[in-house]
C-alpha cells in the first residue's frame, strides 16, 4: 500500500537543471504535509524557502544536503537516508554535504528536543519520492511507455515488459525539464530497503583523521583570539579593572571592558589566557551571595507549601488523602549539573559597520541571529551565521550568550575574533540543570489498593515536576504541584530537560511503591497502564499500548521474572520526546561494593531509521544518565561553583560503564527522536537495582556519595 500525498509544491519543491547535465531538486526540510492548510499559511510561496536539495549528476551520483545542526545526534546521516530511501538509490551512490548556510535559506534550524527527524520525516520522504517520480516520468517519455508500467530499483528506472532499464543519471537532465508533480506516492514502510539498516556516520573519516570540523577549529584571515574574565560568582558584577600587567604582556593587543565581562584579545590562545589570568578585576555584589546549603533550606520549605494553582488536578485528591488508611511518602533530590560539552563554548565573529559574519557551534542559529540583529542594530539579512560541527550540545548550545560576547568583542576592537572559553569558564559560568527536589505521595486504602497520587516539586530556577507523566491518566485522584524558587544561579535546558530528574525520582518512587503494595514493579506498571488505556482520566499524553510494549520487551529480554543468583534488578519505564524507553538494570556485588553490570533497553521510537545511529544514541543516553546519576554534581558556595574542571566534577569513564543491550519495537509509525529519551529512565533503573543490592533506598543524586556510607546489615 502506498501513501498518496498532495502538497503545495510551489512552497516546497523546485526543480532545475544542473550546469553540465543533471537534475537538482530543492526542497524544504520542514515542510510537513500532515496539516497542509497550516503549512500553506506559514510558508511563504517563495523560492528562498528551499532549504535543502538533492542533486543527481549525469553519472548517477546523488548529493543530498543536510542543513540541520549536527551535535552528535546523527541527523547528518539519518536525514539524508530518508531521502535516499524514497529516491530508491543505494547508499554508496549518495554523498552528504553540509549546507552552504546562506543567511536567508534556512528555516527552523534547531537541534533540540529530539525533534529533528520527527519534524522533517514527511518532507524528506516527499523530496525523495518526487525526484523518483520525475526520473520515472523522464524514462517513460524516452521509451514512450506509460510511467505506471515503470519501476525503480537501486538508482535505475526499469520497464519490465520491454526489459529496458536506465540509470538515474542518464535521465536526470530530462527530468529537470519536467513539471514538478502535484502528488507523489510514498513507499509502504514494509518495502523500505535502506531505512532500518546500520549506516555509519558520514563524517567518520573526517573525524578519525582529525580534520578541522568544529567551531574551535575555525581560523580566518586576520583573526584574533579572545578570552574573557567573567564574574566569579552569580550575583556579582564588575567594579573595576586594572589591566596594566596584562597590557604589558607579549601578544596582548586589546583589553576591552564590556560592562558584564572583560575581554582580553591577542594573537595566540596561550598568550591571551595568561593575559586574561593576569587581569586584576574587582567584583561586587549588591545582595548576599547564594549557596547550595541555603537553597536546600528554601527548597525544603517550598516542599511544605501547597500551591494555589496545581499543575494538574484530577478528581478530589485532597479528600482521598485525608481519609486514606495509609499515606506512603518519599522525597528525592538532585544537584545542579553542568553541560560540559567536550568542546568548550567558542564562536567566531567579524562585526563590521553594516554587516556581521559569524561562525561556530550553535543549536539555534535562526533565533540567535534574530536577537543579534536587535543587539547590533543591524538588519537580519546583513548577519550570517555559519554552522560548524558541534563538540556536543546537550542543550548548552541552545543559548547564544557566547555568540553575543564574540560579536560585542569584535565590534569593540573592529577585527575578526574567535572567543574561546576555558573549561573553567565553561563549567563555572552557569546555565545548569536546575537543583531539584520533589515529594511523592500515594494514598493507600485498607486493602492495600492505590487510591490517589500526589507529587509536589520544587526547583531553583526550574521545575521538578512533569505533571502529565504516567501515572497521571491512570489515577482517578491525582495532584501535581510545582514550586520554582528564583535564584541568580542561571539554569537551562539540559539533555531531556525536567525528565532527566523526574526519570529518576518518579521511577524510583514507583518501584518502591510497588514493593510497598506487595506487587511486582513490572506488573504494577502494566496494571496502571491498562487502567489508563481502558478508562483514561484527564489528558493522556502517552499511548498506553506503546508504553506497555516497551515494558514487556525490556522485561522479556532481561528475563525479569527469572531470578539470577547474585544479581539485583531494577526497572524503569519512561516516555519523553515522543519516544518510549524501558530499562532493566542489573547490579552485582564485587568486594562488598555494588557494580552496575548490565542494562537492557526496550525502545519504541517508531520506525528505526539508522540502526547504528539509533543504537548508539540509546546506549550513549543510558551511559550519560548513569554517569550523571552516579557521579556528577555541581554545588554553589558564596555564589560560585565549587567545581571548576574535571578533577572535581566527575564524568563517567570507561571502566564504570556497564554493558548495554538495546532492543527496538518493530514499528511502522513515523519516527520520533532518540537523542534524549533513553537518558531519563537510566537514573531510575540504577537507583532501583542499587537499592536492591545494598538493602536501602537511594533518594539523593549523585548515588556514589550515598554509596560511600556503610552497607546495611545482612
Amino acid at each position: 500500500m502506498q501513501t498518496k500525498i498532495t502538497f503545495d509544491r510551489r512552497s516546497f519543491l523546485k526543480a532545475s537543471a544542473l550546469a553540465g547535465g543533471g537534475f537538482m531538486l530543492g526542497f524544504n526540510f520542514f515542510a510537513g504535509c500532515t496539516s497542509p492548510e497550516k503549512e500553506v499559511q506559514s510558508i511563504p510561496k517563495e523560492w528562498f524557502d528551499v532549504n535543502a536539495y538533492l542533486k543527481i549528476a549525469d553519472n548517477g551520483l546523488v548529493t543530498i544536503m543536510s542543513p540541520n545542526p549536527e551535535i552528535g545526534q546523527g541527523v547528518k546521516t539519518s536525514m539524508p537516508m530518508v531521502v535516499a530511501e524514497e529516491l530508491d538509490v543505494p547508499w554508496k551512490m549518495v554523498v552528504v554535504e553540509q549546507a552552504p548556510l546562506a543567511p536567508n535559506s534556512f528555516k527552523r534550524q534547531v537541534a533540540g528536543g529530539s525533534q529533528s527527524l520527527r519534524q522533517s520525516w514527511e518532507a524528506l520522504r516527499m523530496a525523495g519520492g518526487t525526484a523518483r517520480k520525475m526520473l520515472v516520468e523522464a524514462a517513460a517519455q524516452k521509451w514512450q511507455v506509460p510511467a505506471a508500467e515503470c519501476t525503480t530499483d537501486a538508482g535505475q528506472v526499469k520497464h519490465e515488459a520491454s526489459g529496458k532499464s536506465i540509470g538515474y543519471g542518464e535521465v536526470a537532465s530530462a527530468a529537470a525539464l519536467l513539471e514538478v508533480p502535484e502528488t507523489v506516492e510514498l513507499k509502504d514502510p514494509k518495502d523500505f530497503k535502506l531505512l532500518g539498516k546500520a549506516i555509519h556516520n558520514v563524517d567518520n573519516k573526517k573525524i578519525v583523521t582529525g580534520q578541522p570540523l568544529f567551531g574551535i577549529d575555525v581560523k580566518k584571515e586576520g583573526m584574533l583570539i579572545a578570552m574573557a574574565a567573567f564574574p566569579p560568582a552569580f550575583g556579582m558584577k564588575l567594579k573595576s579593572v586594572d589591566d596594566t600587567a596584562t597590557k604589558a604582556m607579549p601578544g596582548i593587543l586589546h583589553v576591552v571592558n564590556l560592562d558584564d565581562f572583560v575581554a582580553v584579545v591577542g594573537k595566540t590562545t596561550w598568550e591571551v589566557k595568561k593575559g586574561r589570568d593576569a587581569l586584576k578585576v574587582e567584583w561586587e555584589a549588591d545582595d548576599p551571595l547564594e549557596s547550595t546549603a541555603d537553597q536546600d533550606e528554601l527548597l525544603t520549605a517550598a516542599l511544605g507549601r501547597k500551591t494555589d494553582e496545581p499543575a494538574r488536578r484530577d478528581g478530589n485528591p485532597e479528600q482521598v488523602f485525608s481519609s486514606a488508611a495509609k499515606v506512603f511518602e518519599r522525597t528525592y533530590k538532585a544537584p545542579y549539573w553542568a553541560h560540559n560539552t567536550m568542546e568548550p563554548m567558542n564562536f567566531f565573529a567579524d562585526v563590521r559597520e553594516t554587516e556581521a559574519i559569524l561562525e561556530g557551534p550553535i543549536q539555534t542559529p535562526e533565533g540567535t541571529r534574530r536577537r543579534l540583529a536587535k543587539e547590533l542594530g543591524m538588519e537580519e539579512e546583513n548577519i550570517s551565521i555559519m554552522l560548524t560541527r558541534m563538540g556536543g550540545g546537550f542543550g548548552r548550545r541552545l543559548y547564544g550568550d557566547f555568540v553575543f560576547e564574540a560579536a560585542f568583542i569584535s565590534r569593540a576592537i573592529k577585527a575578526p575574533v574567535k572567543l574561546i572559553y576555558t573549561r573553567e569558564d565553561d563549567m563555572t559560568k552557569g546555565l545548569y540543570r536546575p537543583y531539584l527536589t520533589s515529594t511523592y505521595r500515594a494514598a493507600i486504602g485498607e486493602n492495600g489498593e492505590l487510591l490517589a497520587f500526589h507529587v509536589r516539586g520544587a526547583g531553583m530556577n526550574g521545575r521538578a515536576v512533569r505533571q502529565d507523566n504516567f501515572p497521571a491518566g491512570a489515577m482517578t485522584h491525582y495532584l501535581a504541584e510545582s514550586h520554582v524558587e528564583p535564584s541568580k544561579v542561571t539554569t537551562a535546558a539540559w539533555r531531556a530537560p525536567g525528565h532527566n530528574y523526574v526519570g529518576f525520582a518518579e521511577q524510583a518512587y514507583l518501584e518502591e511503591l510497588a514493593h510497598e503494595l506487595g506487587k511486582d514493579p513490572v506488573a504494577f506498571r502494566i496494571e496502571l497502564l491498562e487502567q489508563a488505556k481502558n478508562a483514561p482520566i484527564g489528558e493522556l499524553i502517552y499511548e498506553p499500548d506503546r508504553f506497555i510494549g516497551v515494558i514487556k520487551l525490556a522485561a522479556e529480554k532481561a528475563g525479569w521474572d527469572t531470578p539470577k543468583p547474585g544479581v539485583f534488578k531494577g526497572f524503569a519505564a519512561y516516555y519523553s520526546h515522543n519516544s518510549y524507553v524501558a530499562e532493566v538494570a542489573e547490579v552485582v556485588m564485587k568486594n562488598d561494593k555494588p557494580v552496575i553490570q548490565k542494562i537492557y533497553c526496550g525502545v519504541d521510537c517508531g520506525i528505526v531509521v539508522n540502526k547504528s545511529g539509533a543504537e548508539t544514541q540509546v546506549v550513549g543516553g543510558v551511559i550519560d544518565g548513569i554517569g550523571h546519576s552516579m557521579y556528577s554534581a555541581l554545588t554553589i558556595k558564596d555564589g560560585a561553583s565549587e567545581q571548576q574542571n574535571f578533577h572535581n566534577y566527575q564524568l563517567i569513564r570507561m571502566m564504570q560503564v556497564p554493558d548495554v543491550e538495546v532492543h527496538f519495537v518493530e514499528s511502522t509509525i513515523s519516527p520520533t527522536g532518540l537523542g534524549e529519551p533513553a537518558l531519563p529512565p537510566a537514573g531510575g533503573a540504577i537507583a532501583n537495582a542499587l537499592s536492591a543490592a545494598i538493602g536501602r533506598r537511594l533518594y539523593v543524586q549523585p548515588f556514589a556519595e550515598a554509596l560511600k556510607a556503610p552497607l546495611a546489615e545482612g
Binding site: G72, K205, V208, G210, T341, E343, G391, T616, H647
Partner: protein, 150 residues
C-alpha cells in the same frame, strides 16, 4: 620567547613561543594542526592526546620546552589517509557521535596497542581511563580497540 625546532609528524618546524606554551597550543595556533583538541587544559580528559616518542601524552600539560628534541605524532600524522588499524576500526565500529574527543581516544588507543597488541578488557579499560567521552561512546570505543588488536 625562544625558538624551538619541533619534529611533528616527521616534519621539522620552527616556532617562536614562550617556553611555557603547552604543546597543544603550539600545534593548534602555530602549526595549524587542529585535530588535537582542547578539552580541560589540566590533563583530565584526554582530548589533547598526542604521541611523544611513541608514548601517549596530554599535550595540554607538556610545555614546548620539554618536547623540542622528541618525535611528536598527532592524529594528522597517525596515517596519511585514515588507514591506521585503529582509525579503520573506529570507522568499522562506527564509534563517533559528536566526534570531538575521538582524536584523543584514537591516539591513546594506538599508543597503547603498540605496546600491548593483545590486551584484555580490563587492560583496555585501564588504558582508556584518562579519556572522557561526554556522548558516552565508551562501549564502541572498547569494541574498536579490540577490533584493532586482532
Amino acid at each position: 620567547m625562544a625558538n624551538y625546532t619541533l619534529d611533528v609528524n616527521g616534519k621539522k618546524s620552527q616556532v617562536e613561543v614562550s617556553e611555557d606554551t603547552p604543546l597543544l597550543w603550539v600545534l593548534r595556533d602555530h602549526l595549524e594542526l587542529f585535530g588535537t583538541k582542547y578539552g580541560c587544559g589540566i590533563g583530565q580528559c584526554g582530548a589533547c592526546t598526542v604521541h611523544l616518542d611513541g608514548n601517549a601524552i596530554r599535550s595540554c600539560s607538556f610545555p614546548v620546552s620539554a618536547v623540542a628534541d622528541k618525535k611528536i605524532t598527532t592524529i594528522e600524522g597517525l596515517s596519511a589517509d585514515g588507514t591506521h588499524p585503529v582509525q579503520k576500526a573506529w570507522m568499522e565500529v562506527d564509534v563517533p557521535q559528536c566526534g570531538y574527543c575521538q582524536a584523543g581516544q584514537i591516539m591513546t588507543a594506538s599508543a597503547f596497542l603498540a605496546q600491548n597488541p593483545n590486551p584484555t578488557d580490563a587492560e583496555i579499560e585501564q588504558a582508556m581511563h584518562g579519556n572522557i567521552c561526554r556522548c558516552g561512546t565508551y562501549l564502541r570505543i572498547k569494541k574498536a580497540v579490540k577490533a584493532a588488536s586482532q
